[in-house]
Symmetry: C2
Subunit: 111 residues, 2 copies
DNA sequence: AAAATTACTTTGACAGATAGAGTAAATGCG
DNA sequence: CGCATTTACTCTATCTGTCAAAGTAATTTT
């Protein structure tokens, strides 16, 4: 089952954006990729994934286009925009800072 | 201003519980301690802090008692319970795993 | 006595995550 | 062919953590 969902909350946009930045991908593909990379320690829920897509698209961090139909439903591919690339850098910096801050608060006194 | 609050969301219970586990403390004291330890990179909001206390108390991870009035308002001190100590260990383990998982997803391919 | 400081509480609103249900299109199989 | 299965995406309603805003209360400072 892995980790609780609200513990990764707020970082999913960053994760999805990063995966799309590696190569254009569609929803199911990303979902499978997340399970694969984390060795099933974390699975993104479908509803959550598509909510992330909508959010990223509203902010113009990603764009979508329909790919050729190979099998199963119609695949909608996502690509990162240049605005998205800039945001991703900033979000990764924020993640680094988050780790520092929480680690500070979970360690000793350090005055 | 430091980091956005929803990025630390879900970890505050762990942080507060850890601070109380070091020594019995009251609300304002903890709030100040968080600012101090993070060098003002993160400040907990009052409403959030007291919501955390309520949650931790409902789960019987902490207990409260009134201290002597020294100056200003009446201080309500919190102490960790033995159940709380066990939980804290588990929560810290979860934080370690969260870091691993997100880092996995923000790094390269790693199959 | 009024103002400032310390400390705690409550209410309502908002945003991200998700369960659950539904839509749609292609493939597999008898 | 017709039906089940698989792949893929969408929508709605609900839950939970965070927080702004406002309020209560007691002590110290001026």
């Amino acid at each position: 089952m892995g980790i609780r969902s609200d513990i990764i909350r707020g970082h999913l946009d960053t994760v999805i954006l990063h995966l799309i930045s590696e190569k254009d991908q569609y929803g199911y593909e990303i979902s499978k990729e997340i399970s694969r990379r984390t060795h099933d320690r974390f699975q993104i829920k479908e509803a959550t994934l598509y909510a992330v897509f909508q959010r990223l698209r509203r902010k113009e961090l990603i764009e979508s286009y329909y790919g050729d139909i190979t099998h199963g439903g119609r695949r909608k591919y996502y690509r990162i925009t240049s605005l998205g690339k800039a945001y991703l850098k900033e979000m990764i910096r924020e993640w680094t800072e988050t780790k520092e801050i929480i680690d500070l608060l979970l360690e000793g006194d350090s005055s």
